[in-house]
């Protein structure tokens, strides 16, 4: 395993704030060229994870390696290959958009003027307007443009969509994907907007209360989760005990049993169902949206 294979690796990355665990033993591998979505509810530790990776805060335990460098030792040469966009980032508000881009240019040896201009045009950013006068969406686009103009190897985005209206959000995502598509950029994006992540992420990780619940390819995740509906011959008064742990939030309504199967298999799962419900008349399994998957996971973890 090299930095080329995994631009981001975390081993037991932990961060405490005033004794409280904001991030607890995060183990993560982000494959090169992937678009990795780190999702989770507010306060799950997504921003802490990213800030630790970017050496904005220091980990309490564990380590992260970003493009092969220990995150605590990230230096100018590393930052020249990393793009970082965050909803919380302060910008030099007194600069105009044009000045901001020209100011950043000398910091990056790989700065591409043509790409920068293309993005400024594509995002319809007014060159002569101060950053302070831009709307939130425009500021995010300016930040993204300034982070893509040097074709970074790794683009890290922390909650970039929050507060953006749908049109701007689409424009933002489109610009990000277009710019990243040309090179070998790996994108790591945190969000609680599951629908958006689902539309373009190739990998997804779910973080809750500082712990990573799972991390896998999107296709594998959607393949193994199914909303299962079992229709029984006769109504039941209660569900059997000892149902498999992989059946999430099982519900009984007369002669219908519903649950989310977290490791659905075309052959194995129906057989398992018939072990518990011998009188099953019909079994149907429907794909689940990412949002439904996380709701099921969140409810299980809340128990």
């Amino acid at each position: 395993m090299t930095a080329t294979d995994y631009p981001i690796t975390c081993d037991g990355l932990s961060k405490k704030y005033r004794g409280a665990d904001a991030l607890e033993g995060l183990h993560l591998r982000v494959p090169a060229g992937s678009i990795y979505g780190l999702v989770g509810p507010n306060g799950a530790g997504k921003t802490t994870a990213i800030q630790t990776m970017m050496n904005i805060v220091r980990p309490t335990r564990g380590a992260a390696r970003i493009l092969g460098t220990d995150s605590r030792r990230l230096g100018p040469d590393d930052f020249a290959r990393i793009g970082y966009v965050s909803e919380n980032q302060q910008m030099p508000d007194w600069m105009t958009v044009g000045y901001f881009m020209n100011y950043l240019k000398p910091f990056y040896p790989t700065w591409d003027d043509a790409l920068a201009n293309e993005m400024l045009r594509g995002f319809d950013l007014p060159l002569n307007r101060n950053l302070s006068q831009l709307s939130r969406g425009m500021r995010m686009k300016a930040s993204l443009a300034s982070s893509l103009a040097y074709r970074p190897k790794l683009l890290i985005l922390d909650e970039p969509f929050s507060g953006l209206d749908p049109a701007v959000r689409d424009e933002f995502i489109e610009g990000m994907l277009e710019s990243a598509a040309g090179g070998d950029t790996t994108i790591f994006i945190s969000s609680h907007d599951l629908a958006e992540i689902e539309s373009f992420a190739s990998h997804v990780g779910y973080l809750e209360r500082g712990r990573l619940q799972f991390s896998e390819e999107m296709s594998s995740l959607t393949a193994r989760f199914r909303e299962v509906v079992v229709t029984l011959e006769a109504p039941l008064t209660e569900l059997p005990r000892q149902l498999p742990a992989t059946w999430l939030r099982p519900q009984l309504a007369a002669s219908t049993v519903r649950f989310a199967a977290s490791d659905f298999d075309e052959e194995r799962t129906p057989a398992e169902i018939r072990q518990f419900f011998a009188a099953a008349r019909d079994i149907s399994a429907a794909p689940m949206a990412l949002r439904e998957i996380f709701v099921a996971l969140a409810r299980r973890n809340a128990k």
């Binding site: 040469d77 919380n88 980032q89 302060q90 030099p92 100011y103 000398p106 910091f107 990056y108």
Partner: protein, 464 residues
Amino acid sequence: MRQAFHIFRTNARRLWPQIALFVVVLALKNVGYRFALLLLPACWFLIAALVHQEAIPGHRQFWITRPYRWTSLLGAKVMFILIFIHAPLLVSDCVGLIREGFSPLHDVSGLIERQALLSLELVVPPLAIASVTSGITPFAGFYVPFALFSLAAWYGVIPMYINPGITGLDWLASQILAVAAGVILAVVIVRQYAARHTLSGRAGVVAALLLPFLPVAWNTALYATTLAIKPGALAPMRLEADPGRMAEWEGETCFSLPVKLVGADPSLDLDPLGARVAVDAPGFHLQGGWQRETSLRERGDGYREKVCMARSDYTRAVDQSDRHGTVAVTATVAFAAWPGSVQSRAWLGRGRVAVPGVGTCASGPFGPRCLTPLRPERRGFAVWEERGLHLATLTYGRYHLPFEVTLGTSPVLSFSPLIFPNYNRFDFIVGPNAEISFSTRTNGAIYSVQLHYPRVRLFAAGAK
């Protein structure tokens, strides 16, 4: 270097109003020295604004995830300070010197040393504070209490910081503390830029800012060093209580101690430095601090040390005195003796005259005034024995004159207690057509002796 220059240009473009304000304040300082008081806040807040362009503490600044080299960032700030703060200060000094008829080339090392000292006062503290704060409000949170505390200490509002008046080697203590504070602050600045250790940086800044105010008995300690020079070795000059005079209470809270000087070389200039007095009566002991001599000086057969005490102490002393209204007084009296030599003389009151080796003197609305560049404070000190005398260097304030000014036989040793003394100006007032002599005084000896006055009358006999 290219990156540093790039950041510098952007900072300069952004901060031109603050730069302009600083330059205006600096220009006003040359118009009236009281404007110099504005220089401190103008300079501190310019530096704060400069550093906060790329604030170091915090998680949200855009620059911390950009490829800034810390050496370039710090270098840009240093470049800015050199160009927009130190260069104008240097130009201002040179203009001041030229305006008063001096060539700046005459004292280049002095000008450079002054820049270094100004850096300790005007640049390093705000740079360190700004490096551990994220904006102007927390910066002011450091600055305002510090400024108020400094002013209170400077003007003697806080009793523990009242200058005891013993010039001796006090300057050494202040230099040690100032240099130590400067070193701590410099370390904080570098660590902040290199690794952003804000919490420990803040602790370092607070420690460094408080360091010069430490209630360490430096004065006493250093004066004790000078007292270690055995008075006996300073023969043939002797100081003793004058038995021919009765020590008497002069006023409500002050009395003068008659001191007799025996065998003094008439060529020596004598400066009483002060006295430490203990008052004893049955069941009463009062140990006073150092009191500065208050000019009751009579050459020839002796002089008097005037000693004052707090009214409450005085009342207690009166209450406890014996039935004759007398107390016993033990005084440690210290003075410095200087082998002086007249360098030049000038008659003033006839317009502007050039005094060789001194500068230009002229009559003014409040009396004659001489202008001369001062030498920076001496670095280090020495006490050594030469021809039977124990010698020590003595300085007055931050800068000292390259010579001593005397008016008749009394030395003029006053400096205005301003934060920014107009270093190239030394004002004193004499009567019309007074003769002023300027003499060199390099190394002097510090004498001290303990005197005992068994019966000091506190008030008129029988009045108790």
